[in-house]
Amino acid sequence: MDNSQESSNADERALLTQGGQKALADLLALHREKLERIVAFRIAPFLRSRIDPADVLQEAYFEISRRIDEYINGAPVSFFVWVRQRTIQTLIDIHRNHTREKRDPLREMSLASYPYGHTTSISIAQFLLADITSPSQAAVREEETQQLQSALESMNETDREVIAMRHFEHLNNQQVAEVLEISPTAASNRYVRAAAKLSEILNHLPSRRPSS
């Protein structure tokens, strides 16, 4: 991990230690947009129309405030990466609550593999299927989407995650590196490799399906 990152982590910690909740609120506000995006992306299809990502974030923030000491005293990841983890965990808990009760068909879905299992492809699939506004848009997008979906599904988990984090969650290279616990260089290479693989798969997919 490079030095500037390490010291900025220390800065965040120092800020949180000294600035307390005010600092926490400020830092969270800084990341809000990205986190909302992440929630919207990761939320299960069956909850999508029912739960506002903002509510999930609210819930997550609550947990974050309660556990902030874990961060301050914990492993030296950046604040954002930690917050992202907590947010995803909150989302998993919400999913769990809902599936357990509803006997939803999706309850068979392997919860253990959240958030890095096939959830990525489920996530991608669901927002493609849901809410496509105009039929003309729909045709094009549906096609693209299906292509992408099947391409991503045939990739291995880490590659899929790398693509998802970069393009759906809008994480940067450094953050991806931290999540995967590898060096930025490795993350960068990993990304290029994943992107190349994705291209390869897309090129070898059966030619574009006729839009019906």
């Binding site: 490079d2 030095n3 010291s7 220390a10 120092a14 230690t17 000294q18 307390g20 909740q21 005010k22 926490l24 609120a25 995006r37 919207a40 909850l47 129309s49 029912r50 739960i51 506002d52 509510d55 999930v56 609210q58 819930e59 609550f62 405030s65 309660r66 902030i68 005293n73 919400i94 609550n97 009760e101 927002f127 493609l128 809410d131 496509i132 506004t133 848009q137 693209e144 989407t145 292509q147 992408l148 693509i163 970069r166 393009h167 759906f168 809008h170 940067n172 290279n173 060096s183 930025p184 260089t185 960068s188 290479n189 990304y191 290029v192 992107a195 190349a196 994705l198 291209s199 897309l202």
Partner: protein, 966 residues
């Protein structure tokens, strides 16, 4: 090609893809060829990868747009209810206005958020809660008509109240908006109502739709009475206002305030207003009492859940969060619902009984009286409910509030449930007593206890700068309260203090303008002094391992004493001092000793924080103050002893700065003073003070080396130098001198312990002196003497540990001596002790610090081995944690710095140049960080040692050390 040698080496195509994606997200349509041309060496990869990236981004962006346009919609109907429109949104769900078709009546329909209703636990609770609420029948509780579930949504229907929430009323009053809106009318009603009035809601067009205006114009009291209640309510558009989001409210308010401008409403709050508030809250309390009697808690009382209708009747709504007190299974412990700002502290912790409602209603009362929320930063409460839940004095915000009403408010929202009204009935009763001008039952004196309690439970005031203000306000209000009948003037001071809330300077200014009626002020001052003493003691005792003495007889202990203090503590104390200086000046009572003690405490804290220059200055001030008192009170223990203590502190202070002759000067001054104070000098306290002074100078003398070369510049890993080097003549002279001092100290202490064998303080200092004796003897190569002294010190502390088996402090001292014997077995025992006490007292950093010190010693004993490196690494983990945790304590940073240096040298010696480089780099980084931190403290602070003053010099020293090794 991918290389990993440079530290920030990213794949070029990854960087290109990042830029490409960013441009797409910004709405551009970048050409892939453009990149292929710009980076010909990666053209192939770019051409193959970027189209896929473009696809991913398109899909991703598409989703973003979809999300924007597809917010969960509003249902059209639910069961028997036809949704008319949304009238409000809250944490629990959305409130709609709806028509119940079977009965053709308008109702308020609350639909519970899926997030909350999503699991069976919540659903079961929701049902129970609704059932509980439906069972309540009270004139001040909004009735529930029914509950249901449709489209997977949980909802309940309740009476649509034609009124506004207290939240709106407060907003209106706050914004001077008492014009023609419903809430404005209600606000005006609050301001002016006489018992027979009703709220005449005006029919202005300020409401949101023409339909509203129309329905409003239809409305006047008589018509409404003629029609059925349901229809009238149907016509009313008042309730929408009740749940209008604030932003909209403000827009509305500002639009209307153009039409009508009045002088600030908050200045107009009259006795009548306060009476109206009191009677409104009394009715709410009555409703709560009823509900509590039915074993139903509300748990979310707040202004937004209290509606005021056009009759001026208060309605409690939203018993949606209520639970039956006997059906607790569904409410998990630790689960938090409700609104943070109004929650009782114990509710935040996940517990609480009916008194949480009393607390929340108390906060609502507070807000109505002051037009300001009682708790400014509700989010802060999550982390630290105790500190943030301290409620300001309402009269400090709004001086017109009748004192009794303030007392009632403060009692209702007392921090501890047992200090509140125990039943809503009592709360109501006191409000009625106030309304009838009868004496209230709540006592004011609890406030003093509150202050003291508060000071006790705030071991880390440090983090909040505003605590300074809060404390001043508290003290000022304490004064204001305590003498309400006798002492107008003091109360005025209190109020002036409070008004000048944001400006300390303004406060002292205000103080000078007030005449004090001296004799009567004393009582209050004594109280304030008591509080001051509590606070300073609390702060000062946090600094030292053993609060019985503030001596600094040991290097490591000196370094770490004060770890839990911070700059904020100093600021806090200094501002308190200003306050006391003023009182000392203006009061008949002689407060000079108290003021001087205050100075001394500030200096002590600065000293522990390593702010040597400021500490020096503060000690001087304290010394001047005490010396001037001494002229009138010669040979008085209360003056002489503090002076001796100050000399001791200054002595160590000079020693740390390498000014040995000044240090000796302090001792001379102290001796001189004792000579002039015959009585004190023979007293036990006097002799003890001298013994401590001697002990200080004794242990510091040898440590100084030569002037201007404090510890930091010594070779950092002294033990690696060949042992048994002969001592230089001047070193021997110095050690001999130290031995003399220590011998004198020992003699005094032995005398004292013989006279008072039970005095623990004497024994502790004796034990420390013996420890020093051993160290001195060892330096003089007199091993038998060293062993004897060590044994005695160990025996002494062991027996203290035996008689006080629960005292970690004695164990700490024992471990300290054990670790200094140079015996590996004893060191290991010391390590075990440290592990034990630091596990039991994780909050005391000194214990962990000693553990780290012992690990370093063990490391040194292990010589240049891998084992040694392990020990050092373990020590560094602890030190790193301490340095992170107590970032503004220079000493921890310095220890870490030193250990890293040691580690680096060891690694070098063990033949790991890479690791050595890394450790050195971390230590340099630490130094840099510390430098930045120091700079950012605007005062010219210095750490315990001139840490960074001479980075270059130090590096040269290192080099020399290394050279000399080779």
């Amino acid at each position: 090609m991918s290389s990993t040698d440079s530290k920030d080496d990213r794949h070029p195509v990854e960087i290109i893809a990042e830029e490409y994606s960013a441009r797409m997200r910004a709405g551009e349509k970048p050409a892939i060829e453009e990149y292929a041309i710009r980076y010909p060496e990666h053209a192939d990869l770019i051409r193959s990868v970027l189209p896929s990236i473009a696809l991913v981004e398109r899909v991703s962006l598409n989703d973003t747009e979809n999300r924007k346009t597809s917010a969960p919609g509003q249902p059209e109907e639910l069961g028997d209810y036809e949704i008319v429109r949304e009238i409000g949104r809250g944490g629990m769900g959305v409130v709609y206005e709806a028509i119940q078709r079977s009965l053709n009546r308008h109702v308020a329909l609350k639909v519970i958020s899926n997030l909350i209703s999503g699991n069976s636990k919540h659903n079961a609770r929701f049902r129970r809660e609704a059932e509980a609420a439906a069972s309540l029948h009270h004139t001040n509780i909004v009735p529930i008509y029914g509950i249901g579930e449709d489209h997977g949504l949980q909802y309940y229907a309740m009476q649509l109240i034609d009124g506004v929430t207290l939240l709106d009323v407060i907003e209106c009053l706050k914004n001077n908006q008492i014009g023609p809106t419903h809430s404005g009318d209600a606000a005006r009603w609050m301001l002016n109502k006489s018992p027979t009035d009703t709220v005449s809601l005006s029919s202005s067009t300020s409401s949101r739709s023409s339909a509203t205006a129309l329905s409003l114009s239809l409305l006047n009291t008589k018509q409404r009475e003629a029609e059925t209640a349901e229809l009238a309510v149907a016509a009313s558009k008042a309730s929408p206002d009740a749940t209008t989001p604030i932003s909209e409210m403000e827009m509305k308010s500002s639009a209307v305030s153009d039409l009508e401008s009045t002088p600030s409403v908050s200045q107009q709050l009259t006795r009548q207003y306060f009476r109206n508030v009191a009677s409104t809250i009394a009715n709410a309390a009555n409703a709560l009492h009823y509900a509590h009697h039915q074993r139903v808690l509300h748990r979310d009382i707040k202004p937004a859940n209290l509606l005021l209708d056009r009759e001026g009747t208060i309605w409690i709504t939203d018993f949606g969060l209520a639970r039956r007190t006997d059906l607790d299974a569904e409410t998990q412990t630790g689960e938090i619902l409700g609104t943070l700002r109004y929650m009782a502290p114990e509710q935040i912790a996940g517990t609480g009984d009916s008194r949480v409602d009393i607390y929340s209603l108390g906060l609502t009362l507070f807000e109505l009286l002051t037009l300001k929320p009682a708790i400014e930063s509700p989010k802060l409460r999550l982390l630290d409910p105790e500190r943030i839940s301290v409620i300001r004095n309402p009269r400090s915000i709004q001086p017109n509030i009748p004192p009794d009403l303030q007392t009632i408010t403060l009692k209702a929202c007392a921090f501890a449930p047992q200090d509140r009204y125990q039943h809503a009935r009592e709360f109501e009763e006191d409000l009625r007593r106030f309304l009838e001008d009868r004496p209230i039952l709540a006592k004011r004196s609890t406030r003093v206890e509150m202050l003291i309690r508060w000071s006790r439970r705030n071991p880390a005031i440090a983090t909040l700068a505003s605590a300074t203000l809060a404390l001043l306000v508290l003290i000022a209000s304490l004064l204001g309260i305590w003498n309400r009948q006798q002492q107008r003037a003091i109360r005025d001071i209190g109020e002036q203090f409070e008004r000048a809330e944001t400006n300390l300077a303004a406060k002292t200014e205000a103080l000078t303008q007030v005449e004090l009626e001296q004799s009567r002020a004393e009582k209050n001052l004594n109280l304030a002094l008591k509080a001051f003493d509590q606070i300073t003691n609390n702060i000062a005792s946090r600094g030292s391992t053993l609060s019985i003495s503030s001596d600094l007889d040991d290097e490591e202990l000196a370094d770490f004493a004060g770890a839990t203090l911070s700059q904020a503590d100093v600021a806090l104390l200094e501002s308190l001092l200003e306050f006391f200086d003023k009182f000392a000046e203006e009061n008949s009572k002689d407060l000079r000793i108290e003021a001087a003690v205050g100075r001394q405490r500030v200096a002590d804290i600065q000293h522990r924080l390593g702010q040597l220059e400021q500490a020096d200055l503060s000690y001087q001030k304290a010394l001047v103050a005490f010396r001037s008192i001494l002229k009138q009170k010669p040979d008085q223990a209360e003056v002489v002893l503090p002076i001796l203590a100050i000399h001791a502190e200054r002595l160590t202070l000079y020693a740390k700065r390498g000014q040995l002759s000044n240090a000796l000067g302090e001792l001379a001054d102290a001796r001189q003073l004792l000579k002039q104070s015959p009585e004190v000098s023979v007293s036990a306290d006097g002799r003890f003070a001298l013994a401590r002074l001697l002990n200080c100078i004794g242990t510091i003398g040898t440590r100084i080396g030569n002037e201007n070369r404090p510890r930091m510049n010594r070779p950092p890993f002294g033990k690696f130098l060949p042992p048994g080097e002969p001592l230089l003549p001047d070193q021997i002279a110095r050690i001999n001198r130290e031995a003399e001092f220590n011998a004198e100290a020992l003699a005094l202490l032995k005398e004292l312990t013989n006279e008072s064998p039970d005095n623990v303080s004497y024994q502790v200092v004796l034990g420390r002196s013996l420890r020093d004796e051993a160290r001195i003897a060892r330096m003089l190569k007199d091993m038998p003497r060293a062993d004897a002294a060590n044994r005695r010190s160990i025996e002494l502390f062991e027996s203290l540990c035996k008689t006080h088996p629960d005292s970690a402090a004695f164990k700490y001292e024992l471990a300290d001596t054990l670790s200094k014997t140079g015996d590996q077995q004893r060191c290991l025992r010391a390590l075990a002790i440290c592990e034990e006490i630091s596990k039991e007292n994780p909050q005391i950093p000194e214990y962990r610090a000693l553990k780290a010190t012992i690990l370093i010693k063990l490391g040194m004993m292990a010589g240049r081995t891998g084992k040694s490196e392990e020990f050092l690494n373990e020590a560094i983990v602890i030190q790193r944690e301490l340095a992170n945790r107590y970032a503004d304590v220079g000493a921890y940073n310095m220890s870490l710095f030193q250990s890293l240096k040691r580690l680096s040298e060891l690694q070098e010696a063990l033949g790991h140049p890479d690791k050595a480089k890394e450790s050195l780099r971390e230590s340099n980084e630490l130094a840099e960080r510390e430098k930045v931190r120091m700079k950012s403290n605007n005062k010219t602070q210095r750490p315990l040692f001139p840490f960074f003053e001479n980075l270059r010099d130090r590096q040269q020293t290192e080099k020399r050390t290394k050279d000399s090794k080779e």
